[in-house]
């Protein structure tokens, strides 16, 4: 009745094209102080940023790879073969017409300007190291919202950004945050003034176009008291023969009563190492919500975290991971409770297809002097083929008797009865499978912004088409 599902091809066609490389600035392969100086020179950076990079490089050298708990696949990254900086010019263009034609073509194929015209408040598209295009709609700019690239922001508004830059995620947090701190370039720095509610989501798009390239974008979002913002990022890369590295650092600061929602749809090609550090600080009564969809990449290691620093702060992570043949989605969440009455919620769903492997790692920490803290964690895994694999490694520390946590995880497969039932009603096996998988993630995708949940549903439909038969 049910034939053994075949391994399927992930939908990377949309992003799988390559433009001829043409870079005005290229820092060569490998990383050393000279490369950092080169990056700083091109960007015309101030001395403190140069020092920051060089300190970070020393930390990077000293830190071991975390292979005592993480995938040994990390050892295959050759840091000396990676190109750390490529750019065709360091000043982001303000108007779409000024963007060079070949880059425009790239983004046209990805559908970015269209999106912007339709509803997006601002778009930052990063092509290799530098933001190629950056614009915020006038109205948002008038509200005092700042939305620009990392270097530009640090130079133009040090009074706002320097205070938090590298404070949520210190350079020495892990080997890859150190590497990012040394070689960072591009990304989005956003400041939302007190009380401003940005009605449309801000969006950034990241794309790797060069082989052996490392992309180290840096994002810092500061939502001042009582403000609200939604930020979306998407990423793709064409497929190259050798592995490419994406190692971002994303820091979010939600001041008193602020709300930040950060949405990621990651669809790197299957040879990209996606090693990203994401963390937020939530002050009193602030809310931070990470929505994290990992579809692409060879190995993703990403554990968005929230430090719940102020009373009644709330942190949430909603995560969907889809691991296809040869992929390892090692994702999860961290919730550090550091004030009374803080609450957190983690819902993680993973789907392993073919020889794909998905892993959930979580950390929930509640120290003893706190009271009224609550955490709820649910992780569900769905295995499609007999060669698929799933792991769950949560870590929960609770001190004191005034807090409570609960954690639940389950593993299941699509039941033959369900498929049979749907086939009886005229669906093909592929449609039935796709409906089942969509049903599995449905309660999560309902919480996503509409265009993302539709896109995700289509993506799953396409993936499942080839999975049976």
């Amino acid at each position: 009745m049910i034939t053994e599902p075949q391994a399927i091809n992930i939908d990377q066609d949309k992003g799988n094209f390559q433009m001829p490389e043409k870079h005005a600035f290229d820092a060569g392969v490998g990383i050393n102080e000279g490369v950092l100086d080169y990056i700083s020179d091109v960007k015309n950076e101030e001395q403190w940023i140069r020092d920051f990079r060089k300190n970070a490089l020393r930390t990077f050298y000293n830190k071991p790879l975390p292979t005592h708990w993480a995938s040994k696949d990390l050892e295959t990254i050759n840091f000396d073969k990676i190109r750390y900086y490529l750019a065709s010019g360091q000043t982001p263009k303000r108007s779409w017409d000024d963007v060079p034609d070949d880059i425009k073509e790239t983004f046209d194929r990805l559908g970015i300007p269209e999106n912007e015209r339709k509803f997006l408040a601002g778009v930052e598209a990063q092509f290799d190291s530098e933001a190629a295009y950056s614009n915020i709609k006038e109205a948002v700019g008038k509200q005092g919202v700042i939305f620009m690239g990392s270097t530009e922001a640090l130079m133009k508004h040090p009074e706002i950004f320097r205070k938090w830059f590298g404070k949520v995620i210190p350079t020495g947090d892990n080997k890859f945050s150190a590497l990012n701190s040394a070689a960072f370039s591009g990304g989005s720095f956003i400041y939302i003034p007190p009380g401003v509610k940005v009605s449309h989501p801000l969006q950034a798009y990241f794309r790797i176009n060069a082989e052996n390239f490392g992309q180290f974008e840096r994002t810092l979002i500061i939502a001042d008291e009582g403000s609200e913002v939604t930020y979306m990022e998407g990423c793709t890369a064409p497929k190259f023969d050798t592995a490419t590295l994406h190692s971002a650092v994303v820091e979010l600061v939600a001041l008193k009563g602020a709300k930040i929602e950060y949405i990621t749809v990651q669809n790197w090609s299957a040879n990209v190492f996606n090693l990203v550090t994401k963390r937020a600080i939530a002050h009193e009564e602030a809310t931070v919500k990470w929505i994290d969809c990992n579809i692409g990449s060879r190995l993703t290691m990403k554990y968005p975290g929230v430090i719940l620093k102020g009373r009644k702060a709330r942190g949430e992570v909603l995560s969907i991971a889809l691991a296809n043949d040869g992929q390892h989605q090692d994702t999860g969440a961290k919730m550090i409770h550091a004030a009374d009455e803080t609450t957190s919620n983690i819902i993680a769903k993973s789907i392993s297809v073919g020889s794909g492997r998905s892993t959930y790692r979580g950390m929930v920490h509640m120290p003893k002097h706190l009271k009224g803290c609550k955490n709820n964690t649910e992780c569900d895994a769905l295995l499609i083929n007999s060669s698929s694999r799933t792991d769950t490694y949560p870590s929960i520390t609770v001190r004191g008797n005034k807090n409570s946590v609960q954690h639940e995880a389950s593993v299941s497969k699509v039941s033959a009865e369900q498929i049979f039932y749907m086939q009886q009603r005229g669906l093909t096996e592929g449609e039935a499978m796709s409906l089942s998988v969509n049903g599995f993630v449905n309660d999560l995708t309902r919480q996503f912004p509409m265009e993302y949940s539709v896109e995700l549903k289509r993506l799953i439909d396409m993936e499942m088409e080839g999975s049976v038969g």
Binding site: S387, Q406, A409
Partner: protein, 409 residues
């Protein structure tokens, strides 16, 4: 063999917290400098000890150990002996049944981080016992072994080896006690259970060492086709207890149940690591670990369900419940899953929290005094596990031990 094991002990590194198997653990208290590793004289004046070991009426056999020496032995009856059942201290079994020991002794490698202590145990173990049940034999009454620590600072190496041959059925109880409550000892205990095809082994252990003791208890179970092992352990004693429980479901259709209840108080650390390793199809395992934490105590539960690619139709559950009864207690839960087969049912759950306020209120509203109500709720918390004991004598003995510990706060 002992010399080789000691060499291995010396060459293996001490565990560090960087090792996932020792995450959150207090490594500094693992120092062994203070303990006495020399073999003491055989103790005398054991009347009190023997009386206190009288827990079960009419056991099939009983052995009492004091400071590593077998001091009292209730042999099996002639009927069982005639059927080929072996119930002997290791020192004797080594003479009489060396072929069995050669095959089984320390033949289950530790998977959970204690290689160094396995080597230490192999080099210092001086006694313990062997229980061998031949094919098709069912033994109704349980066997019991009582391990006593008498003198201060002695190092003890209890060893339990159970081999249940095809279609046999046996129950076994280990108790671990110290002569005085606040005694300090070093314990490095190993327990290996082999259940052959269709065999059933029921294992109970009660650990109540002195409150200053460093205890390392390594339990290991292997089940062949359609075998069943039910294990239940109660952990009360020790300053620092490291308990590793690994279950290998080797044969198709086998089942292992792992239950544990622990009460931690003062600055006690109870560090439990478990592994449910499913190697064959249609295997089932069920784990339930419950901890009640008082004062400044700390517990670590780190469990892992591993399902091999071949082990389709596995059904595995793992649950950890922590009841925090003080503001300063700390519970760590690391429930893990590694699944390589797709047609399985696996789940784990971990909860940590305080007493249910509504339940407490309900009792207070009915005139039950607060301290009594709390005690009842803690009992209710554990009763889920104690009720699984079919043996009422043992259940009452466990309840009494738990009550004593709860009241001594």
């Amino acid at each position: 063999m002992k010399a080789k094991a000691f060499e291995a002990f010396q060459s293996l590194p001490m565990p560090t917290r960087k090792n996932e198997n020792w995450r959150f653990a207090n490594i500094s208290s693992l120092s062994l400098d203070e303990y006495d590793f020399t073999r003491s004289e055989k103790p005398t004046d054991l009347q009190e000890l023997i009386e206190k070991s009288d827990i079960i009426s009419q056991p099939s056999g009983q052995i009492i150990f004091a400071d590593n020496h077998p001091v009292s032995m209730e042999p099996i009856n002639d009927d069982l002996k005639a059927k080929g059942v072996i119930w002997e201290p290791l020192s004797e079994a080594l003479q009489n049944h060396s072929e069995i020991l050669k095959k089984y002794f320390m033949s289950q490698d530790p998977h959970l981080g204690s290689e160094k202590f396995a080597a230490l145990h192999s080099s210092f173990v001086s006694d313990g016992y062997l229980l061998y049940v031949p094919k098709g034999i069912t033994i109704e009454r349980p066997f019991i072994a009582n391990h006593w620590a008498l003198s201060e600072k002695t190092a003890l190496f209890p060893h339990t080896l159970v081999i249940a041959e095809e279609s046999s059925n046996v129950t076994l109880i280990d108790t671990f006690n110290a002569k005085s409550e606040s005694q300090k000892n070093f314990i490095c205990a190993f327990n290996h259970i082999f259940a052959a095809a269709n065999a059933t082994v029921t294992y109970r252990s009660l650990q109540n060492w002195g409150t200053k003791t460093l205890g390392i208890h390594i339990n290991s179970i292997i089940t062949e086709k359609d075998a069943t092992v039910n294990s239940l352990s109660v952990n009360l004693g020790c300053q620092h207890l490291r308990s590793e429980n690994q279950s290998v479901l080797k044969g198709e259709g086998s089942h292992i149940e792992m239950l544990s209840l622990s009460v931690a108080d003062n600055d006690q650390e109870i560090d439990q690591r478990t592994l449910q390793l499913h190697q064959s199809p249609h295997t089932t395992s069920n784990l339930l670990y419950k901890n009640a934490l008082l004062k400044k105590s700390k517990t670590i539960f780190s469990g892992l369900i591993k399902v091999a690619k071949e082990a389709q139709k596995t059904d595995a559950y793992q649950t950890n419940r922590n009841l925090l009864l003080s503001e300063e207690a700390e519970a760590n839960a690391l429930p893990g899953l590694e699944i390589k087969a797709d047609d399985v049912k696996c789940s784990h759950g971990a909860t940590t929290g305080n007493m249910d306020k509504d339940q407490l209120f309900y009792m207070l509203a009915r005139g039950i005094k607060p301290h009594k109500a709390r005690e009842l709720l803690v009992f209710g918390f554990f009763e889920e596990i104690i009720l699984k004991l079919s043996d009422n004598e043992l259940a009452d003995y466990m309840r009494e031990l738990i009550q004593t510990k709860l009241q001594s706060k």
